[in-house]
């Protein structure tokens, strides 16, 4: 019960911070954290299939793609203002 309450609080906090932080890198990292916590929540809800998919695709692959996009953005910005 306490664990579940902590999990829900952490989910909400990470979601709000990921959406509201002005630093994009921070937002991506918080999104990955949110994905991993969500996987834990699915496991707690007795849905291990979805937990596996969420951890692998939601947090892992999407996180890697977002970080990659961020790298491209930084590179573009550096080209514009040398």
């Amino acid at each position: 019960m306490i664990f579940d309450l902590l999990l829900v609080t952490a989910l909400l906090v990470s979601a709000v911070h990921a959406l509201s932080t002005p630093d994009l890198f921070r937002a991506v990292v918080l999104f990955i954290v949110f994905g991993l916590l969500m996987a834990l929540a699915w496991a707690r809800l007795n849905a291990p299939d979805i937990a596996l998919a969420e951890a692998a695709i939601g947090a892992g692959l999407t996180g890697a793609l977002l970080l990659d996009a961020l790298g491209h953005l930084h590179r573009k910005r550096r080209e514009r203002s040398p």
Partner: protein, 222 residues
């Protein structure tokens, strides 16, 4: 002005949230007990894990179309114009530590993917998860500089991408000879599902890794 706008948006979002929650609580009870139905039909599905039975047998249609959508998404990415066509520069040399970790982890990830695929018949697991693990291995190898990005996929890669969907469609069409689309004969169901899942794993791994490898072109450097 801006604070007024923010307050209005927050207020509307709050009202929407409360309305959604209220309508969820107000839903009528389900008329059909689907979990019980699945449990009674599990014997003829060829697998013993209810999620796999639903995904690959009872609602195989959905999975078939999902694979088609994923493949379509990757095709759309592949036709995007690359930034510079002559960018055949290899990936940037990475940290040697990362390289050796990637070399160590890749066989383990292959093993895990194989296990997850096999375990899908009787416990949580299956083609999607196994494919995602394999795709993760591909992305890791790429980040370590051991796997080049896909400038233009060759013939073998193209065949591999479409292979899972083609096998799935072939199986679906073959069982149509003596019944309906995707209605496996119970005696063959287990073997057919394993065949479809194994082929899907390969294609899904390529498609998911491709979403990453086709989008990163190292040719755009400062």
């Amino acid at each position: 002005m801006k604070t007024l706008l923010t307050t209005t948006v927050l207020l509307l979002a709050g009202v929407l949230g409360v309305a959604l929650g209220w309508s969820m609580l107000d839903l009528p009870a389900a008329a059909l007990q689907l979990p019980a139905e699945v449990k009674t039909q599990l014997g003829v599905s060829g697998v013993t894990h209810p999620v796999t039975a639903v995904l690959l047998n009872f609602r195989g249609y959905d999975t078939l179309l999902e694979i088609a959508v994923l493949l379509l998404a990757l095709l759309a990415i592949l036709v995007l114009p690359q930034a510079t066509p002559g960018g055949d520069r290899g990936p940037a040399p990475a940290n040697p530590m990362l390289q050796s970790v990637a070399r160590l982890l890749t066989p383990l990830m292959l093993l895990v993917a194989g296990y997850v695929l096999w375990a899908g018949a009787h416990r949580p697991g299956g083609a999607f998860q196994a494919g995602a693990v394999l795709a993760g291995a591909g992305v890791l190898l790429h980040l370590a500089g051991l796997l080049p990005p896909w400038a233009s996929p060759g013939r073998a890669l193209r065949v591999g991408l479409a292979f899972g969907l083609l096998v799935f469609i072939a199986v679906a069409a073959a069982v149509m000879l003596q019944g309906n689309l995707l209605q496996y004969p119970p005696a063959w169901a287990g073997a057919l599902i394993l065949l479809v899942e194994a082929c899907l794993t390969v294609s899904l791994a390529l498609v998911l890794a491709g979403l990453y490898l086709a989008l990163t072109d190292t040719s755009v450097q400062q």
